[in-house]
Amino acid sequence: MEGALNATDSSTLGVSGARKPPATLRRSQRPRERLAGWPIADRVAWAACWVVGVGVSLVTAAIVLLMAVKGIAYLHPALLFEHPSAAVAQSQSGGFLDPIEGTLLLTAVGTAIAAPLGVAIAVWLHEYGRPAGLARATESAIEMTAGGPSVLFALFGLILFARPVLAFLSQTSAGGSVSGRSFLTAGAVSSLLALPLVVGATREALAQLPARLREASQALGKTRARTIRKVLLPSIRPGIAAGVVLGMGRIIGDTAIVIFVLGATLHLTPAGGLPGLSALRGEGTTLTAYVRYNSPAGEGLAPNKAYAAAFVLMLIVVALNFAVVRLGSGSRRKRPFARWRPARAGSAQ
């Protein structure tokens, strides 16, 4: 502060813009916290926060580091493009092209079902919520799905999709029994894992929107449906994207459904005549199932491949997250659907 007032004489008081700016500026800094004055309980809590924070970071770092070291050590570019083969010797068991494709395909199918459905359910629950009884029932159902173990869904899916009525979703053996296993059926079951996360994130985002946004649109004579589609949903794209990312993470990470409903075969086994779509009706596997199979806990006897595959799995998850978040936020310039910022009175720019 010193110097700021010294140089003033009465002729310049109350006048602005005439003088040069001061040569030195003192930037304000966050004052250092002094623990000494804190109650003992607060100090303990403070220490606990640090311990937990650092601990979680260390565990995460250890996982990433282990996967990276082991993974990079055993990863060859060829592994990414070779089909796996059943061989006792690790050197002859091929790569994991099929599991990579399977992971991407299953995630795509699961997300394609869960994302639109989840957003629709969330909009209905939050914006309409009628009939009230059905809305409450749906809410409980979604909550239960969120907590449910995936092996339960897997079992249910296997039984459901083996019904002859649903044979078109998977393959039918020569004897006439429906396998119930395909990317379509596994994707449908997997979507249950992602659904509650998409619904939750979307509802949360809708709840954060100010009521005056809805009012403004309706005051212009727009219907509620139009308001939702043109104003509300575009405004919450980042929120929806966050939910979808979480949901995709659960689909990618699940193994039970792959083993039960996808077959966890070594190769993708396209079925049916439609080009491009044949893989959807066929069985297959994913990286998680491949890692389990080849890990020391599995039967594949190729632990090195498991490490490499796990590393690739990690990279895929990171890449997908990044892509969806980018997609959700959009280009800031053209579609400024940034988080809602209320206007402050008289604030320029």
Binding site: Y128, R212, R214, L220, P336, G346, S347
Partner: protein, 336 residues
């Protein structure tokens, strides 16, 4: 969408009072705090309240029809006849009758909680999206009951600007274009009415957007880049954008709910100038807490207190020679 009774919020309708008959409002006599305050403030009419035979607290004749303004082409567009409004069991507007005219600005003044905003919101049936709101009485637009019109069509004709600037989180252009683009149902209705079905598109849309921004006095400030995010504008600019958005749809009546309360004096002056300029082409109703603002922009003023219309008259009369003691107290700053 609003027509679907399963989806619309539960709006309890009160049967409109027939002329000449007296219907006892459901919560009168009410033991509610509001009613207690109301009757305490007005011991003279208490017996009337108790019996349900509500009488106008003021000797208000049918709203004056003679043009009291200096403008030549003043046309009555809307008419409110004994309008009652309630939230739940609480009456917030009691028996208000008013004309709304094109060619002049009508200001609703009064202390907080006097029902100004609720009354304003009822003019384009925006009260209906509030759960528990109910209305009785007649409101007409060009002689037609507004209840008989489709709510969204009505809101296109009677547009509203809110207290807080509420632009959509889109670009400036899209904010205005949004109100111009017709949705499918509206397109169908327009075609049936023999109008071109679609709203403007392409160059025509752009021209309409620019025109609306010009009318709102914003074009000179944002015209160089209409694709900038609306939320990046200053508060005053955002509010003018909201006015532009409302004007773009070509409303016949413009409702302004304290449009300047969140703004600085310079932005306020810009908007007031705009309001006065608009009155020739649209009927303007403005709710304001700011008496000076009412003096500056209004041709007619309605003073409301605790849900009642205490006095209605030309601006000059209300501010210089009010007939009612309460009006005199309010405009001289004794309360409020």
């Amino acid at each position: 969408m609003n027509q679907d009774p399963r989806l619309a919020p539960p709006v309890r309708r009160i049967i409109p009072r027939q002329a000449g008959t007296v219907v006892e409002p459901r919560s009168e006599p009410a033991p509610s705090a509001a009613a207690a305050v109301a009757s305490a403030a007005q011991p003279a009419v208490e017996p009337g309240v108790q019996s349900g035979a509500w009488q106008d607290p003021v000797d208000m004749p049918a709203p004056p029809r003679a043009p009291t303004t200096t403008h030549s082409n003043v046309v009555e567009r809307m008419r409110l006849e004994s309008v009652w409004l309630a939230y739940g069991d609480r009456w917030v507007v009691r028996d208000v009758s008013l004309p709304v005219r094109q060619g002049e600005v009508l200001a609703l003044i009064g202390a907080s909680g006097s029902g100004k905003t609720t009354l304003l919101r009822s003019l384009n049936r925006l009260t209906e999206i509030t759960a528990g709101a109910a209305r009785a009485g007649h409101i007409t637009l060009d002689g037609e009951e507004i209840d008989g019109l489709e709510a969204n069509d009505l809101r296109r004709r009677i547009s509203m600007v809110f207290q807080q600037p509420n632009p959509f989180p889109m670009s400036v252009f899209e904010n205005v274009a949004y109100s111009l683009r017709e949705e499918r149902a509206a397109r169908r209705r327009r075609r049936r009415a023999g109008l071109p079905g679609r709203g403007p598109r392409g160059d025509q849309l752009r021209a309409s957007v620019v025109e609306a921004l010009r009318r709102a006095g914003l074009y000179d400030e944002v015209g160089d880049d209409l694709d900038r995010p609306a939320l990046g504008l200053s508060g005053g600019q955002q509010q003018r954008l909201c006015i532009a958005r409302s004007l773009a749809a070509g409303p016949e009546v413009l409702l302004l709910d304290e449009p300047c309360s969140a703004l600085d004096p310079i932005s306020t002056a810009t908007i007031e100038e705009l309001i006065v300029g608009l009155r020739e082409s649209v009927a303007v109703v403005i709710v304001t807490h700011n008496l000076q603002q009412a003096v500056r922009v209004a041709d007619h003023v309605a003073f409301m207190h605790l849900g009642e219309l205490v006095e209605y008259g030309p601006s000059q009369q209300i501010f210089e020679h009010p007939r009612q003691q309460r009006t005199r107290d309010y405009v001289s700053g004794a309360f409020g």
